[in-house]
């Protein structure tokens, strides 16, 4: 059973609001990721981290920011939400090494109105 949690599961918020999507894992994994998922589109990597104090931008340009102060926690923040940010956001974690399995949270479906 994967131990990676995302909150909230669903969020509807107004334009201009600041939001933080939470992601926590209890597996001690060094690598953590944020993906954006839209219907019919590939999962786009927007942020990743190799460990504490490590954050990198992914392949898809994003106005969001992330932090990695603790191994288990990798929150994603949008300073000013816009309707274009409406999407599903998936958090994942894995051990170091390209051969390792990524464990995914259940996702946060964000709607900005």
């Amino acid at each position: 059973e994967a131990d990676i949690y995302q909150t909230p599961r669903y969020l509807v918020i107004g334009t201009g609001k600041k939001i933080t999507l939470e992601c926590s894992q209890t597996m001690g994994h060094d690598k953590m990721y944020w993906y954006q998922q839209d219907p019919g589109m590939e999962l786009h990597l927007i942020h990743y981290s190799y460990g504490v104090n490590s954050t990198e931008k992914g392949d898809l340009s994003s106005e969001s920011t992330v932090s990695r102060i603790r191994t288990e926690h990798f929150p994603l923040t949008l300073e000013s939400a816009r309707p274009s940010h409406t999407s599903q956001y998936l958090c994942a974690s894995s051990e170091l090494g390209g051969h390792t399995e990524a464990f995914f949270g259940q996702g946060t479906r964000l709607t900005v109105v």
Partner: protein
């Protein structure tokens, strides 16, 4: 650079019929290959993976995939599908080196028809 192509966005198939979900990849380096499955309202979970050795890998629920290096493919097959196999399936690649990112395909929705 690496990329994954899943040509079929949706695959309808009758229950107990065989199915093949296609995946092709490109990469400038050697890769590991994965299939993930996403059931409705859930996150992705690993179905099977190819790291090395035998090119045919199997999952515990009857799926199998074969790595074909010459055709750069990693197609997923099942000889007889069940209703419970209805889900979205994602092919993914990761470079051999430890800091390589995982690249996913666009996914294939498998709809099993009773």
């Amino acid at each position: 650079a690496q990329s994954v192509t899943q040509l079929d966005s949706q695959v309808p198939v009758f229950e107990e019929a065989p199915v093949e979900l296609r995946c092709n990849y490109s990469s400038s380096v050697s890769v590991y290959l994965f299939w993930y499955v996403q059931y409705p309202n859930q996150g992705l979970q690993l179905l099977l993976k190819y790291l090395s050795g035998s090119t045919l890998v199997e999952s515990i629920n009857g799926f199998e995939a074969e790595f074909n290096k010459s055709q750069t493919s990693f197609h997923l097959r099942k000889p007889s599908v069940h209703i419970s196999d209805t889900a979205e399936y994602f092919c993914a690649v990761s470079g051999i080196e430890g800091y390589q990112k995982v690249t996913f395909g666009t996914g294939t929705k498998l709809q099993v028809i009773p």
